[in-house]
């Protein structure tokens, strides 16, 4: 259309401009009527609202840990791993399970398999008990008791922080470390750390 040099296009351009200015050219989109001033943002954007532990920290830690561990030779052959609690040694309410869940999520995509851990144990054993003890299930299809697999490795770790403040500056340093332990042998097979420094000024 743009290639058609005509009187029409010469006239059309200013006309379009005028109608644009009048505000009648906007096309409605898939947003409900009467919405407030709410917008959807980018979940992957760097968040610098406050210097408390935030989404960017979680994403960076999980990514670094997952990538580092996936490279480790112990992960070849797809061993069974169990996620244990990552200790929170800060005085901030950081949900470390949310971090380890992200690590787990990313590792699973590379083929690592995970054994049931404490956080989902109840759901699984309850279901196991229901299938076996209520008498409602067909014997042949019910999951058998005593077949759960033990993990070869457990994943554990800690997060610590150092917070310093003066009248104008607040500096927070986080150190997240993750450790892979061989359960049977009691050997630490892999470990990595991620450090984050955040500084805010008034």
């Amino acid at each position: 259309m743009t290639k058609k040099p005509s009187l029409m296009s010469k006239l059309g351009a200013p006309l379009l401009l005028v109608s644009l200015l009048a505000g009648c050219a906007s096309t409605s989109g898939p947003v409900t009527e009467g919405g407030g001033n709410v917008t959807y943002g980018d979940a992957k954007a760097v968040e610098t609202v406050t210097n408390e532990f935030g989404s960017t920290d979680l994403q960076m830690i999980a990514e670094t840990m997952a990538r580092s561990l996936s490279q480790h030779p112990s992960m070849r052959g797809q061993p069974l791993v169990s996620v244990s609690e990552v200790k929170n040694k800060t005085s901030e309410y950081i949900d470390t399970r949310s971090i380890t869940n992200s690590v787990k999520n990313q590792l699973m995509k590379t083929g690592v398999r995970f054994a049931t851990d404490a956080s989902t144990m109840d759901a699984q054993t309850d279901e196991l008990m229901r299938q076996n003890q209520t008498g409602l299930y067909k014997k042949s299809t019910a999951a058998k008791i005593g077949n759960m697999k033990g993990a070869k490795y457990i994943l554990t770790g800690e997060i610590t922080s150092i917070v310093k403040k003066n009248s104008s500056t607040k500096d927070v340093y986080y150190k997240f470390s993750l450790l892979l332990k061989n359960v049977e042998e009691g050997v630490d097979e892999w470990m990595d750390e991620k450090e984050i420094r955040k500084t805010s000024r008034r």
Partner: protein
């Protein structure tokens, strides 16, 4: 025009003065141009070289960045991973903030999230030294 980087030249915008400023350009760096996606042309940060190796069945990437300015620059970056067919693999990465001091050479590195990744793109954005996109 002194700010014109070798990177810009590599992108095909040959500027006469650039040739005089920049020395030899190695083959690896030449391919770097295709791998970098900038959100606005950066004036004082340049990607000097990118190294790629496949280790433990995962693609490993290292990129050298140079801050040509004397001021500290804030950089945001992330990687996109592509498979043989050119499709993205792995989940979308979060943006990572990095500080590059004045005249510092900074290394950014990454490992592919999955074995299927054979290619990549680096997205770069530096809020304070943005020029116009090419």
């Amino acid at each position: 025009m002194k700010r014109t980087t070798n990177f810009r030249r590599l992108l095909g915008c040959l500027v006469v003065t650039a040739a005089a400023l920049v020395g030899g350009v190695d083959a690896q760096a030449a391919s770097a141009a295709d791998k970098v996606e900038q959100l606005g042309q950066m004036r004082s940060l340049e990607v000097q070289s990118i190294r790629i190796v496949r280790r433990n069945d995962f693609l490993n990437v290292q990129a050298d960045l140079l801050n040509t300015d004397r001021q500290t620059q804030q950089l945001f970056y992330r990687f996109k991973w592509l498979d043989n067919a050119g499709f993205t693999v792995g989940a979308e990465e979060g943006w990572k903030p990095v500080i590059v001091y004045g005249n510092q050479k900074k290394l950014i590195e990454a490992v592919a999230p999955v074995q299927a990744a054979t290619d990549f793109r680096i997205e770069l954005h530096s809020p304070d030294n943005n020029g116009r996109p090419q």
